[in-house]
């Protein structure tokens, strides 16, 4: 693996230790109670031996003079970032602990392992005080000096500088919190009894969220999403092709994941991006953002959007990739709406701006025989009892366009600028005219199209198909998750009709037959992140109306 490019210290405080302390004093009554107050009793244990100091600089001086270990010189030479500093401290401590020497030609590779994020000493004061160390000299220095000179002349600049420093301090603070969380999570995760699902069920308070957020803390789900080029290209193309909309704007990225959309926005010229996610992945986002030189533009905040405190009152644009299976599974859109109502400027833009939802009846005898009829005879045994759940739950599958037996019906449009949470539970009529003869109606599929419009005023027809949008020469951008486009990680929501109850009645239908019914989305009482989909359907030639419900959980 190639050495990562040297990182600049832009994430470390660029102020001197004293001016930082001043700001701390100023901010004391503004809710910094989480900060560790710098007590006189702080004890710095020497990196190299057991001696204890009350001042980190004295301790480092001791290491330099007694043991020829110049920590400040090392971090300078290796151009370490915040995490690098922490790893270096822990690396040195672990070497000393194991009775090994510190290599003369120490390189970043020696301590790049994530394990060095874990403190060797409990409550290691050195780790808490890394920000107090003198600035690493480098390119920034001259910039700093220039700024200082300018400020002497201009009191306005001075005020601006103070708020700049406040922001930086806040960032460092958050960075440190996230570091503490990272360490805590790493340890907690290892202790978790993965077999404890039964235990969890008996716990008093229901928690629909922790599984949801932790499911996004691994690499592979993000790899899947990033490699979904239909999805990621659509956001990229809209943002890069409409740089005029983003230039100089403040953007909020709700559920930022690895930070990709935030970086698109920063690259497109946004003056500031605030990226919020409640999953541990945000630690990686922060690193990605830092490595790509956007640390001064993008602020990462870990927490629920409803709970974190944004550094701004209003934003110009909200960008979010909140869509779930069947659009609304996982209920992240509720949070986006909440963020819009609280933070978006009255003339602000939602990206994407519109969603059209589609339903179509399907007939797929191959799928039915492979996955449902299969259980009738498994190595000579009857396993039909395994069929039960298949009809109870909505499935996520990529259905070929050939399985559709009518034109799809656009049953709902959500305009992101105006939709409210109550619009997310609904009952809508739908209809379809069969375009082919079928032996049996096997079920229904649901998908959505996303549209990215340049203004709040633009209208997307309720029957607009994303796959035809670009060809029509219309402005903006769109993508479909339906069978008419390339498969996305959302695939389609598939609701299979339970044919095991009805006995021997032929359900064959002819091309031209009319189907109609109602489609309902509801949120189950026992899990706010799940979804219930109900359908009714009736053929024009048939008196009887059928109905069935499916769960997504």
């Amino acid at each position: 693996m190639a050495d990562p490019t040297p990182k600049k210290e832009t994430d470390a405080p660029t102020s001197s230790a004293s001016s930082e302390a001043d700001i701390l004093d100023l901010k004391d009554d503004e809710g910094w109670e989480d900060a560790e107050p710098e007590e006189d009793t702080t004890q710095f244990i020497s990196l190299m031996d057991d001696e204890v100091f009350s001042d980190i600089n004295q301790m480092l001086k001791h290491c330099k003079e007694k043991h020829n270990l110049d920590f400040l010189d090392l971090r300078q030479k290796l151009a370490l970032d915040f995490y690098g500093n922490i790893k270096l401290v822990n690396f040195i401590r672990s070497q000393v602990h194991d009775g090994k020497s510190i290599p003369q030609d120490l390189s970043r590779k020696d301590f790049e392992d994530e394990k060095f994020l874990k403190p060797i000493l409990e409550d290691d004061a050195v780790l808490f005080s890394l920000d107090d160390l003198p600035e690493v000299a480098g390119a920034e220095d001259s910039e700093e000096n220039d700024k200082a000179k300018r400020m002497e002349k201009d009191p306005g600049a001075l005020v601006a500088r103070v708020s700049e420093l406040e922001d930086e301090l806040r960032r460092v603070q958050l960075q440190f919190e996230s570091y503490q969380n990272t360490v805590k999570e790493t340890l907690d995760k290892k202790w978790e009894d993965k077999n404890g699902s039964e235990k969890e069920e008996t716990e008093e308070k229901r928690d629909d969220d922790s599984h949801y957020f932790s499911s996004y803390s691994y690499n592979d789900i993000h790899e899947t999403m990033l490699k979904d080029t239909i999805r990621t290209d659509a956001y990229r193309d809209f943002i890069y092709n409409n740089k005029d909309l983003f230039a100089g704007k403040v953007v909020l990225d709700v559920g930022c994941g690895t930070g990709i959309l935030s970086m698109f926005c920063a690259k497109a010229g946004a003056s500031r991006v605030i990226s919020v996610d409640n999953s541990a992945i945000i630690d990686k986002a922060r690193e990605n953002i830092f490595n790509n030189g956007f640390a001064d533009k993008i602020t990462c905040l870990r927490g629920k959007i409803e709970e974190v405190k944004l550094p701004v009152d209003k934003v110009d644009i909200i960008v979010s990739e909140w869509m779930g299976y069947c659009l609304l599974y996982e209920a992240m859109f509720d949070s986006v709406i909440w963020a819009r109502d609280k933070y978006l400027q009255p003339d602000g833009l939602m990206v994407p701006s519109h969603i059209n939802m589609w339903v179509a009846p399907v007939a797929d005898p191959d799928y039915i025989s492979d996955h449902i009829a299969f259980w009738r005879d498994v190595y000579g045994f009857d396993m039909k009892s395994m069929q039960a759940g298949i009809h109870e739950d909505a499935q996520v599958l990529d259905m070929p366009a050939s399985t559709l037996c009518s034109e799809p019906f656009p049953f709902l449009q959500l305009s992101l600028h105006t939709t409210t949470v109550k619009d997310l539970v609904f009952k809508r009529k739908w209809e379809a005219k069969l375009t082919k003869d079928i032996d049996a109606l096997d079920g229904f599929i649901i998908w959505f199209d996303s549209f990215f419009m340049r203004t709040r005023q633009e209208v997307v027809p309720e029957n607009a198909k994303a796959e035809e949008w670009a060809a029509s020469g219309k402005k903006g951008n769109a993508f479909t998750t339906g069978p008419g486009g390339k498969v996305t990680h959302w695939k389609q929501g598939v609701m299979l009709i339970d044919s095991t109850k009805e006995k021997a009645e032929s359900t064959a239908m002819k091309a031209g037959e009319q189907l109609s019914g109602e489609l309902e989305y509801a949120v189950p009482e026992d899990n706010s992140r799940a979804l219930n989909v109900s359908m009714t359907w009736k053929s024009a030639s048939d008196e009887k109306e059928e109905s069935q419900s499916w769960k997504m959980r």
Partner: protein
């Protein structure tokens, strides 16, 4: 079993399988013909061994192996599984008219009470990815020590892990190199994590550059849980001039008690199984010539804090006269 097997899947898929009570995973296992057919043949073709015997099925899942045992003439079969799938298994056993022959118990092997003090045969499909990841072998060994009658039989009774080196430039680039440039951005923090996560995937036989070599053989009659942490030196002989991007591991399973021994392999040279192969990417690329050797050590142990995770360490050294191609290193992986 279903719960264990899910661990190796994409998390997005876990969501999905959870959503219909793990049927998908049982479907996948049953449809794994190499697996299911080998068990079926080992049991049904050896009626002389099963006739009138008491059989214990450890981790019975949908009870397919238990039903095979009944078909082979077993006097009684006890199926044990922790998962709620056992409720389905009960229905299945019932409709197949075997309720009087099969007793299904839900719970941990260590906690359930068997209706027989000893059993004549233990059958179990306990293998996980890389044989040992999330495997139920420790449960099988517990059942052996507590319940297996002297001279009792175990189906299967032998497992062997193999390794080989593969050329995999294109896919390594797709999986690992991907993080170097994600839509124009440097995502290297995620690359580091990706390199420490072994990949479960199918490897084409033509990608295999070295002869395979066995690194661990477990005899289920004699092995103990201590054997599941092991350090094995290995030597891989290069078959041709090529590059090695990764080492892979797979396993073979033997039913030696059969009249005609039955064996199946999960290697790249044979039919697909749901275990696929396990790929360990190396940080560097080895440039090997035919006849040269890669020597190394495979170290595997359960993670100290979470025994279900595996800590795997592979050190390797390319032995060559050519100083420009000499390579030596070690990589740590975590299966979790």
């Amino acid at each position: 079993m279903a719960d264990e097997k899910m661990k190796g899947m994409e998390h997005s898929e876990v969501h999905y399988f959870n959503s219909y009570n793990h049927h998908g995973i049982h479907e996948e296992m049953l449809k794994d013909e190499v697996r299911t057919r080998s068990y079926m043949n080992a049991i049904v073709q050896n009626k002389h061994l099963f006739k009138d015997k008491i059989v214990l099925d450890v981790g019975c899942g949908t009870s397919i192996l238990s039903m095979f045992a009944v078909k082979a003439g077993a006097k009684h079969v006890i199926g044990v599984d922790m998962s709620t799938i056992i409720e389905k298994a009960r229905e299945i056993v019932e409709v197949n008219g075997m309720s009087d022959k099969i007793t299904l118990l839900q719970g941990k092997m260590e906690e359930v009470e068997l209706p027989f003090p000893k059993v004549d045969i233990i059958i179990s499909e306990w293998m996980g990815y890389f044989l040992l990841y999330e495997s139920m072998l420790d449960t099988v060994l517990y059942a052996r020590d507590k319940y297996l009658a002297p001279n009792g039989l175990i189906f299967p009774d032998k497992a062997t892990i193999f390794m080989a080196g593969i050329e995999d430039g294109e896919y390594k680039d797709e999986k690992i190199g991907f993080w170097d440039n994600v839509y124009g951005f440097d995502y290297s923090p995620l690359k580091h994590t990706a390199l420490t996560e072994p990949l479960v995937d199918t490897v084409e036989i033509k990608a295999v550059v070295t002869d395979p070599t066995a690194v661990l053989t477990l005899d289920l009659y004699t092995c103990t849980t201590a054997d599941l942490a092991f350090t094995s030196p290995f030597t891989l002989d290069a078959r041709r001039d090529d590059f090695i991007h990764a080492l892979i591991a797979w396993f073979d399973i033997d039913f030696t008690a059969c009249h005609k021994p039955i064996r199946f392999s999960t290697g790249p040279h044979t039919k697909y199984t749901h275990w696929k192969q396990t790929v360990f990417y190396l940080r560097e690329v080895l440039t090997v010539q035919q006849g040269e050797q890669v020597k190394g050590v495979l170290d595997n142990k359960p993670n100290e804090k979470n025994k279900r995770d595996l800590d795997v360490k592979i050190s390797y050294k390319l032995e060559t006269e050519d100083p420009t191609r000499q390579a030596e290193g070690s990589c740590e992986y975590k299966m979790c």
